[in-house]
Each structure stands twice: as structure tokens, then as C-alpha cells.
Amino acid sequence: MPDDSRKLITIVTEAILEVELCEHLEKLGATGYTVTNARGSGHRGIRDAGWSSSSNVRIEVVCNEVVAQRIATSLRDNYYNNYAMILFEGDVRVLRPEKF
């Protein structure tokens, strides 16, 4: 049986980045992504989704370790300094590992 353990990358950032970021993630090797609307608070203050420019999106990517590393590095270098953004990584086991 194949190894079914993967990384789950979760990104919370400004809604305005959604389209660009998702394209970027696929370029980095993600086979897919899931997006939900979110609001929240952090170092850049409260982002309460009252309207688009103040709302967040929560993006999840299930991928292998290599892609995960690539995503983390790329986002840190390209977005972390200028945008409200956090990224964290967890370990998951997936159904149909060949999909990811």
C-alpha cells in the first residue's frame, strides 16, 4: 500500500489575493486547493469582512512535503512582508494518495 501521509498547508490572508495566490499555488505544484471566506484579527489589526477589501480568505492545500516546503518559502518571500497573512502546516493522512 502507498504512503498516504501528506502535509496540510493552511493560509489565511487578504481576500484580494485569492485569485493570484491560487494560480501561484498551482504553479508551485499543488494539485488543488480549497477556499473559504473568513474574518479575523492579527498583527495587522481586525479584518472583519464587512466588504471585500477588509475580508480574509482561508486557503487549504493538501500536498507532499516538497511542495509544502516550496509553498512556505515562496509565500514568505513574496507576500509575507506586505500582506496580512499567516501560514501553518499540519500532518494528515489522505484517501487516494495518488491524487495529491
Binding site: 484580494i16 472583519d48 464587512g50 506586505n82
Partner: protein, 314 residues
Amino acid sequence: MSVDPVILFFVLGLVAGLAKSDLRIPPAIYDLLSTLLLITIGLKGGVELARSPLVGVMPQAAGVLAIGFILPLLVFPILRFVARFGRADSASLAAHYGSVSVATFAVGVAFLAERNVGYDSQLPLFLVLLEVPAIIVGILLARGLSGNQSWGKLLHEILLGKSIVLLVGGLAIGWAAGPTGVQPLEPLFFDLFKGVLALFLLEMGLIAAGQAQALRNKGLPLIVFGVLAPLPLAAIGACAGWAMGLSVGGTTLLAVLTGSASYIAAPAAIRMAVPEANPSLSLTASLGVTFPFNIFVGIPIYYSIAIALHQWGG
């Protein structure tokens, strides 16, 4: 002349927001309201344009376009060297104040309607023409012409932003369908206009209240700029409008446009193109200071300026 109720809805939102009421307008409803306003303004303009020959408007359009490119260039140095903002922030604010606010324009339209003052049919067209140039100039001011490969992508985003698409689309449809064709759409887009604007301003008040916090932190310079910038900018628009031979109403609205600051198109574009600029800085100035200033104080002043110009101009 009592104050327009739609403005009272802004006050209601502002008060509720500052008092930390749990009153909220869902994002989806905000989208619906802004969509309706943009289409209405576009349709109205298109129907009017259908009545008058387009060729006559061309030279005026060119002039307005030019103003759109010049305004941010006037604002930038003041921000950079007088107010001593950083380069990115100065460029961002220049883009916001060079561009226009649809909501302020809508309040201006309501203000004139209240007084049965007509305005020239090309104003909504000018609204569209003034939205984009300042944003482009602002980005150039921040980045310079140097190696920025993604201009194509950027222009695409700016020109195909929601507000432009709905305004231009509304203009085109109104123009193609003409007065009679648009008639069956009037109950939704024209009759409800004032009510929709009232709800929209309620939400604007809530959003503006959200800026108050940031205002306390950023403090004086933003307030000063947000209050002082509109008048000279509007004056330029008024003179241009008068020189173009616009009516009193048209002159007023052009002043409203140049005197207003964008908080939809500009923030989105600048956020992508000039990420190092602090977005809350420009948003607070345009939404928290200039927008209220314009709908309470500015518009009436611009109206009197327009009247004065036409009387003095004879």
C-alpha cells in the same frame, strides 16, 4: 432646505458603528447595493447619451482624461515633501484622490435632483474616464518605469474591475436600448435609486466608523489632508467643467468627482501593485475623512462654486 434623508442614513450607520452596535450589512448585500448603484448610474448616463450626439463629447472626454492624469501629479509632491509621507504611501494617496468615488457622485446626483437641477448627459462617462488614470499614475509614482513586467496583468485588473465593467456596461446598454427600451427596467434601477443609496450609505457609515480607530492612531496629518485636499481638487474640476461649457449641475458633479477620493477601484489596484503602501492610511483618509466631508460640507460648496462661476462667467 432640510438635510437629505440619505445622508441621515450615513449618520445612522456612523453612530451605530461608533457605538459598537451589532448592526451589520452582510457582504453579499453590500455587493448587491453597489451593483445596483453602478448599473443605475451607467444606465442613466447611457440613456442621456443616446439623446445627444457622441462626437461633441469627444474633446471634453479627452480633457477629462487629461485631468485624471494630472491630478495625482499635483497631489503627490505635497504628500511626499510637505506632509512627509513615504514614497509608496504618497503615491497610494495620490492614486486614491486622483481617482473618484461613485458613492459621492451618487449623493451629488441626489443633491441636484433634490433641487431639480439637471446635469449634462456625459457626466457618468466622465466618472468612468476619471476612475482609471490616477491609479496608473499612482503606480508609476511608486514603482517608477523600471522593470515592472506585469503591467498587462495590472491594467487588465484595473480596467476589468467590477465598477468599471458595470458602469461601462450600464452606459452601453442604456445607450443601445434608449429611453423606451430602458423603461421596463426603471422600477428597479431608477425608482429604487434613492432607497438603495440610503441602505448603501448606512453600510458606508458602518465602514467609516470602523476607520475611526485607525484615525485615532494615524491622527492629525490624515485628517488635515482629508479635509483640505477635496476643496482645491474640486475647484479644478469646477473650473474645467465651466470652461468646457457644462451646465451648473454638470460643473457641480465634475467638481464632486475631482474632489472625491476612490475607495473601491484604487484600494484594490494599489494593494496589488504597491503592496508596500499602508492600505489603512489611504482608506482611512478617503473613507473616514474625505467621504463624510464631501457629503456634508463639500457638495453644497461645490454647488455654490458652480453657480458663482456661471454667474461671473455670465
